[in-house]
């Protein structure tokens, strides 16, 4: 067995840990809930839309990962940059945010959240948001090995939700969903918050007769995030949705779909331990998806979204778009 003094927890994961513990979000960014600006979402309520970290900071995450990847591909000691990031974080400067402002022209951060909340409003779902006060589900702590810290965070989260009178949450990020639905009941005494994923809620809406329609016909394939298919069993829901959207020609990967879906390469924090290998795995997954001939790859996980769009970029398939289900549904909203 290992001894004290040995250090096996990868630095990339430790940065996640610090961010969650000290900044209340995965990426250590100071201001949350920018995504909700200009949307008329009420504060609090019995049902809240749980935004999570991943979708809020897509650009920042993408920028950081592409920097790390560029260094790793050149065999440079990229993990050292993580310590710079950490130090800057402590000084109140977020390097991901900074880097995004300097080099990235993408405005993806929060986009799927904006789309999802508009879609929910339009299909008649009543919900609020905790905005800046939304707690972090802290799931990565659990996967990194800090299960005690995770348990403490979970208990604190429970208290916040109780104090706000939250009875039900609608989630977007698969790993948040799994944590709130399956891990919290194990670690938090008296946890009784109902957890529904956005896709489940949309499915209900479709059953009630809500219609979605794209302006043009497109060939769409779906990438099952591991958490969604293998851990949460949400396999039929996305397919049901895609089949019911008018204008979508839904095509599937031959073998690697549903519970047999291939991981995008971003599982378990892998992308911040082995950036280049992770990128290769993303490419392999995109190759499988491209075999369907689809021009749009739809998924429902911020991690997969980043991984797959990087994979598409690397494979030089610019005509192929990678979007979240929420974005597709927003585009397919009926005229008011």
């Amino acid at each position: 067995m290992s001894k004290r003094g040995e250090r096996s927890v990868p630095p990339g994961l430790l940065l996640f840990k610090d961010n969650i513990l000290y900044k209340n979000n995965l990426f250590g960014i100071s201001s949350k809930s920018k995504w909700a600006r200009e949307l008329s979402i009420p504060v609090g309520g019995e049902t809240i839309f749980f935004a999570g970290c991943g979708y809020q900071f897509l650009d920042e995450a993408k920028a950081t990962l592409s920097l790390v990847l560029a260094l790793d591909r050149r065999d440079l000691p990229w993990e050292k940059t993580l310590w710079v990031t950490k130090t800057l974080n402590h000084l109140g400067v977020n390097s991901g945010e900074l880097y995004t402002k300097l080099v990235s022209h993408s405005h993806l951060s929060g986009e799927p959240l904006r789309c999802a909340s508009i879609v929910l409003q339009r299909i008649g779902v009543k919900f609020g948001s905790l905005f800046e006060e939304e707690p972090c589900c802290a799931a990565p702590l659990y996967y990194i090995g800090f299960q005690e810290e995770f348990a403490n965070k979970a208990i604190a989260t429970h208290k916040i939700l109780q104090a706000k009178g939250v009875k039900k949450v609608i989630t977007m990020v698969p790993s948040c969903t799994f944590a709130l639905k399956n891990l919290f009941p194990i670690f938090v005494k008296g946890w009784r918050v109902e957890v529904h994923h956005f896709l489940e809620v949309v499915c209900e809406g479709i059953k009630r007769g809500v219609k979605f329609r794209l302006p043009n016909k497109v060939k769409v394939t779906y990438h099952d995030p591991c958490f969604m298919s293998r851990l949460l069993g949400l396999i039929e829901e996305p397919r049901h949705i895609l089949r019911s959207v008018e204008g979508v020609e839904f095509v599937e990967v031959e073998y690697a779909k549903g519970e047999w879906s291939t991981c995008c390469g971003g599982g378990g924090g892998f992308e911040v331990i082995f950036p280049e290998v992770s990128h290769i795995l993303a490419m392999n997954r995109v190759k499988e998806l491209l075999e369907t001939g689809a021009s749009v790859i739809v998924t429902s996980c911020p991690g997969c979204l980043i991984q797959l769009s990087e994979g598409v970029k690397k494979l030089k398939a610019p005509e192929v778009e990678v979007i979240d289900m929420a974005q597709l549904l927003w585009r397919a909203l009926p005229e008011e």
Partner: protein
Amino acid sequence: MPKFEEYKKKLKEAARNPQISLALSRAIKSYRKNVEEALKKFPHTLELAEEVRKVKEKSIPRMEELVQQACEAIQENRGKAFIAHTPQEALEIIDGIVGSGKLIVKGKSLTGEEIDLREHLENRGNEVYETDLGEYIIQLLGSKPMHILAPAVHVTKEEVATLLSQASGEEVPPDIKTEVAKAREILRDKFFRADIGMSGANVVAANTGTLFQIENEGNIRLCGSAPPIHIVLVGMEKVVPTIEDAFKTIEVTWRFAGYSVPSYVNLVSGPSKTGDIEKVTTYGAHGPKELTVIFLDAGRSQLAKDLEFREALYCLRCGGCLYECPLFAVTAGHFGDKYFGGIGALWTAFITGNLAEASPLIYSCLTCGRCKIRCPVKIDSPRMCVDLRKRIVMEEGW
């Protein structure tokens, strides 16, 4: 360079190597096709697999008792049986039988790999031949196996041709048929000149002391029948209570290894014997006169008592999970040590290494969970990898 750094570098190099990805993508494709056909042809397999999970659930908690029972049964059958607590002990028992200067033919054995058996025997001045074609290629290559069932899964036919040309001193073309024939020709007389044959076992029935061996090439039956002495090295976790349990387990093992039915299943319970002259039982008729079975513990009995992780011992070694692992698909055996993939990471932690050595592997698991979908006995390796990270954090005092 720290271990984790060294490992990362190796993993990255492997992932960059297009040969590995190419060989693996072909192997994965044909595995999936084969297993799908096999399961279609024998649809009862899935139910049988559930039964085997139950067999394992009852066998592993009483593994030590069952191994004891198996040893007694083998001894009753006039074989010798030992329990080796450590790899060192296993090697000492083997040395006691083999000595040095012998010609040895070996069937593929992961347990042998686990204790570096071939290297050990060679260092003691024996001439050792791996007789499984894939393993023979690996031996010629001087490298390590990259898949538990298909050790040379990452080697192309062109590379094989070069290796066999060097071994035989003749030009061998990169044609698979010719290559197989050449290997047969080289190894044929080794079987009959060998002093000792060695093999492993896929399942052991405790009540009869019967060792079950799955194979397709026919090399294991030659190893176990042509030489006068047969030594079998087997991990303790392979034992099941009865011969009926063993039949169920063996069928599920080969089916998930991708075979409708393998060419051979050997059942060995004792040395070769005859009573054909005056009904006097005499040992060593056509087969070996002596059979020695060594059960290797090396951490297994400890693991069997660990409720959180004992499930790792249910592994049948069908190899199915490896074909479903996205990381294995680009790095082959580089994602592992003696055993590969997520389950291999766990085995490294508990059996062949220690937690510190295993930690780079434990943090390599994507925890994507597709291995569990494939696993006939539904071993939850990702869950165990995550729980093991918890132990790493605790033990290192973070």
